[in-house]
């Protein structure tokens, strides 16, 4: 291990940990059966991708106006 790596690791050693909070969590969709949950996850992912694209478009427009 190099001295740089040692220094980087020390940053963690001298850190303090905290627990995750509810605000860190995003629930995944539920269902009664394997196929139901699979379908719900597909829809969930499609929506996440659409939301990300919409956000990127808005940010690009704001950047263009600034």
């Amino acid at each position: 291990m190099t001295s740089k790596q040692n220094k980087d690791d020390e940053k963690f050693l001298f850190s303090r940990s905290r627990d995750l909070s509810e605000s860190d969590l995003v629930a995944t969709p539920d269902g009664q059966t394997y196929e139901e949950i699979r379908a719900a996850l597909r829809e969930f992912r499609a929506q996440a991708i659409a939301e990300h694209k919409a956000k990127a478009i808005i940010e690009a427009k704001l950047h263009h106006h600034n």
């Binding site: 790596q5 940053k11 963690f12 850190s15 860190d24 995003v26 995944t28 269902g31 949950i37 990300h52």
Partner: protein, 159 residues
Amino acid sequence: MPAEVFFHNKFKGSTARTTFFSDYLALLPSEDNLLSDFIIKVKLGMDLEGRNKSSWTDTNDAEMKSLKLTSYKLCKLWHYHAGPFTGLGSFTSKNVRMTNLSGQTSAAVVHYKWYDSAQTKLVIIAFSPVHKPFPGANDVGNPLSLRSGLLLSNDLIPA
């Protein structure tokens, strides 16, 4: 026993991708299928056929005496070999709450931790398309420690 499954919000909302880590929005369809299979089986309380272990221990379940793994132990990070599997040889399937060193291994890995001590809520922290055993906590693109609740000393501002 079933468990609730959550994404870490930074995993769910990000597009970062390196050789060893991919966020949710950057997953390939085949990787999304592997992740979904894991999520569904955990939600339904089904046994898992992949290797499942804590991220600071070796394949004999012995703690690795390595500084770089300290953060994984502090954060109680685990990872599950998500497939695809060869199905060759003998292997065991176990519930996600159990260490399964005899499970099948694979390139793809799901990194997760339990939100609560009762292990009712599982949080997915990251996905590795290719498993790099014991990645350094500060490796480029490695989100594991910071998303698991560890604060860098650099992030602290004395009051």
